[in-house]
């Protein structure tokens, strides 16, 4: 029988992978994708839990997480475009004007 913990473990692994991606990739868009990966792992956790606890809240939450993800996608990609326009790159290592 598959317990909630199985799902949570998978989610955990995905979450860790997401972080790893965020920490290593330098392409802003890829980083954003990794973040999406993290969010999805959370979604999985939520749904697993809500199924386990037999309550809807978790799934509703996931619903909103998706909305948020969409919104962030829109704004984030817009930001990347503007940045790209000025720097000809969306490499996060080129975001180095503001420091110290």
């Amino acid at each position: 029988m598959i317990s909630v913990y199985h799902y949570m473990t998978v989610a955990g692994i995905l979450f860790a992978m997401g972080t790893y991606g965020v920490l290593t990739r330098r392409n802003a868009i890829v980083i954003f994708m990794c973040i999406e990966l993290m969010l999805n792992s959370v979604n999985l956790t939520f749904i697993a839990l809500s199924n386990h606890l037999q309550s809807m809240d978790g799934q509703i939450f996931v619903f909103f997480v998706m909305t948020v993800a969409a919104a962030e996608a829109a704004v984030g990609l817009a930001l990347m475009i503007t940045f790209y326009r000025n720097r000809e790159s969306i490499d996060v290592d080129d975001m180095n004007l503001l420091k110290l």
Partner: protein, 167 residues
């Protein structure tokens, strides 16, 4: 049987997640991500949340990934050179491994002890997932729902303001 299937899907999900974080070209990463989303959708089905599965496919695979791909194409980004890492592989892996460790730890040690609700899988099947979600959304979580709309509005405005070329 089911457990095997679970492990299979989990494996695929993890592998495609691995693609996301390792592929040189953003496009491949994006495809890997789509793949993961599908796996998750499958999980949602297995968790008696078909509607969420559908939304997952539509919103994520259908909207977000497309948007991302669109932007990638728009900026026609090449592959990134994997010569230098901002903070070396070592640190990054240590960090994420620690996260993994933590997560595993509290999943193994911890217990999901939440108060059991009344929405059993049977009820889901009988009433129907969509309706349950709808009910919850429009009764219990009305306000968040409204806020979500504002959020989307803000996102749109923001995107417009930012992406417009001329003032």
């Amino acid at each position: 049987m089911e457990i095997i299937f679970f492990y299979l899907v989990a494996l695929v999900a993890v592998v495609s997640g691995f693609l996301v974080i390792r592929c040189q070209s953003p496009v491949n990463s994006a495809l890997g991500l789509v793949n993961t989303f599908f796996c998750l959708a499958i999980f949602y089905v297995m968790l008696h949340a078909p509607f969420m599965a559908a939304v997952q496919i539509m919103v994520y695979a259908g909207a977000i990934i497309v948007l991302i791909l669109f932007v990638i194409m728009l900026l026609n980004l090449g592959t990134e050179s994997r010569k230098r890492y901002t903070n070396g592989i070592v640190w990054s892996s240590i960090a994420s491994l620690l996260i993994l460790f933590n997560v595993i730890y509290f999943i193994k040690r911890g217990r999901v002890t939440g108060a059991e609700g009344d929405i059993t899988n049977f009820m889901v099947e009988s009433v129907g997932h969509t309706e349950l979600i709808g009910t919850a959304m429009f009764t219990e979580f009305l306000l968040p729902f409204e806020i979500a709309s504002v959020l989307l509005l803000v996102a749109i405005v923001g995107a417009v303001v930012l992406a417009k070329r001329e003032v």
